[in-house]
């Protein structure tokens, strides 16, 4: 199919953009974004017409922990500070069962959150029925979010998505947490979901830019039937960041895809607000490329760099080993553990017992 045929096919398609700077971006900031910064970013996004803004600790509700780091404020404080200032945007949250609970979902709702990504590993959808049902009971816009989607094939993703739909999810996401997928991988999974889900159930795609495929994968998702795209302005997110939303919005405009977002305004948010906030330039570099290449959870990036410094084992070696051991999101403890085991094997660390 030629490029021109693609663009004409998608002309007039409506897509909902969902910004992740203030959730996935928390990972890239080691959870250190202040309430004031959040309000500044969110009000600018709201003003630019972004319809959904996700706001929580990087690991979502219940994320404040030794495992995932402590943010500068409790989730409820971030959510209420942002939600009270929104003119049109809805505030969303992330909830990973096993980490966050329904109590925390209720608290987030009370603070003003009206949308939730209920996230499980791509084969474990049946750990989410309580949380999806609870979110629906609260009247929230409820998404089933299948993380590390590259680790399940298209038929498997369709089956898992169907389960989440049966619990009440209104949108099912293919989530490329490792930034490993290529456009054909995305199309196969989104297409398989489209075949089995009810027509009114939406499909979303959440990309990471570790192989530089964030934009291309998001377009592929739309071609296969997705209508919601996650990204973050200036790409502020884990690994090499999420799909850079201002770039994606520009591509959508060129292709005639309707986002309702003011392109120049979010370009300004990227340049004037987000980039100056970055602790490191979020880009494809040796380690984030390793994530994408080896299929490792993007959040592992900074943890691996820290373990590398401490135990003298290169971060790339640790990441490749984590990929080989098939570690998944949430197993950040296994980064230090793996680094220590590798350091012992290399004679860099003495065993205690």
């Amino acid at each position: 199919m030629s490029q021109a045929a693609n663009s004409s096919n998608l002309k007039g398609r409506k897509v909902i953009l969902h910004d992740m700077c203030l959730r996935d971006g928390m990972h890239a900031k080691r959870e250190q974004i202040s309430v004031e910064q959040m309000v500044k970013v969110a009000t600018a996004l709201d003003d630019a017409g972004i319809p959904y803004v996700q706001v929580t600790h990087g690991a979502g509700l219940g994320g404040n922990s030794l495992q995932h780091g402590f943010a500068m404020a409790p989730n409820e404080e971030y959510i209420s500070a942002v939600a009270s200032r929104m003119k049109q945007a809805k505030v969303s949250v992330l909830l990973i069962p096993g980490l966050g609970t329904m109590k925390e979902l209720q608290a987030a709702y009370d603070a003003g959150a009206r949308s939730v990504h209920v996230a499980t590993h791509c084969t474990e959808a049946d750990t989410s029925p309580q949380h999806i049902a609870y979110a629906r009971k609260l009247g929230m816009d409820t998404t089933g979010f299948l993380m590390m989607s590259h680790l399940n094939d298209a038929a498997g993703i369709a089956q898992q998505g169907k389960l989440m739909e049966s619990y009440g999810a209104q949108t099912i996401y293919v989530t490329d947490s490792a930034g490993y997928m290529l456009p054909d991988d995305v199309k196969a999974r989104v297409g398989a979901l489209r075949e089995v889900l009810r027509p009114e159930t939406e499909i979303g795609f959440h990309g990471h830019h570790n192989l530089g495929m964030g934009i291309a994968n998001s377009i592929a998702a739309i071609e296969a039937g997705a209508s919601r795209i996650d990204g973050s302005v200036a790409g502020l997110g884990a690994g090499a960041g999420n799909t850079p939303l201002e770039v994606f919005a520009a591509v959508c405009e060129r292709m005639g895809i309707v986002t309702g977002v003011d392109l120049f305004k979010i370009m300004d948010v990227a340049e004037d607000i987000i980039v100056p906030m970055m602790d490191h330039v979020v880009r494809v570099d040796r380690e984030s490329l390793t994530l994408g290449y080896a299929g490792v959870y993007s959040t592992f990036l900074l943890h691996s760099k820290r373990a590398a410094e401490r135990f003298g084992v290169p971060a790339r070696d640790i990441l490749v080993e984590l990929g080989r051991k098939k570690m998944i999101g949430g197993q950040e403890d296994m980064i230090q553990d793996t680094a220590m085991t590798m350091a012992k094997e290399r004679g860099l660390l003495k065993a205690v017992a």
Binding site: S65, L66, Q67, L99, T101, E124, T127, K325, Q331
Partner: protein
Amino acid sequence: MKKIKCALIGSGNIGTDLIYKIKRSPVLEPVWMVGIDPESEGLARAREMGLKTTAEGVDGLLPHVLDDDIQIAFDATSAYVHAENSRKLNELGVMMIDLTPAAIGPLCVPPVNLRQHADKLEMNVNMISCAGQATIPVVNAVSRIQSVEYAEIVASLASKSVGPGTRANLDEFTYTTSNAIKVVGGARRGKALCIINPAEPPMIMRNTIYCLTDDEPDHARITESILQMIVEVQKYVPGYKLVNGPIFDGNKVSVFLEVAGLGDYLPKYAGNLDIMTAAATRTAEMFAEEILAGKIQLKAVETV
């Protein structure tokens, strides 16, 4: 030597694995297996292994309790029916070991507080959760040396070892374990995280324990206490193993464990299920030893 006769309620994976563990015990004998489905594989297996079975639930067992001298029962059903099961059996003087998240009796982690429960002649003790059994001994090993402001545990479980009940009720697992980290572990605040990993071949259960001490941790004493505690757990779970740590960062103590099962009925990677059945068996043995030594006598619980 005389053995204390036991009934197993629930003919699923846990109940079946318990048969193996109890049969091996010098002081326990499995006599009855209670199920609800006459066609179930678990009941058939129990019959093959020489147990009497009923598919009528606990009510099918009650008429035989006194004749068969059943003194200890293990409940591996669900939190929803446990309270009723326990009431009916306690009335007949049967002591109950609860492997469900119901937790109507005191929480038990054998090397930490089993002795205390036996001395008090508790008629219902709860085994918390697999993550609790695997991690609370270490939290306690730190808190018995110096005060722990906060303890957090991360349990990684093989997807194949996590049954539908746990999956559908993950929040209960989180609440029960978090609470036990405080009540039994001795930390002032507790948090439990659980990850279900589908890797093939299945990963062996892993547990990470983080403790934040109030004052600077005494590295040598805490390390010694943890190593001692691990030896205690290994007495009933031989596959309980320190992989890395303890490692100290300021006031944070981190310990990385692996729990392999015995591979009785459940595969070795399912250390999470094995540590539950092993801890429950260890608990029953302690009560049985006391009964056989004439130190305690179980009494029927009168209900009001």
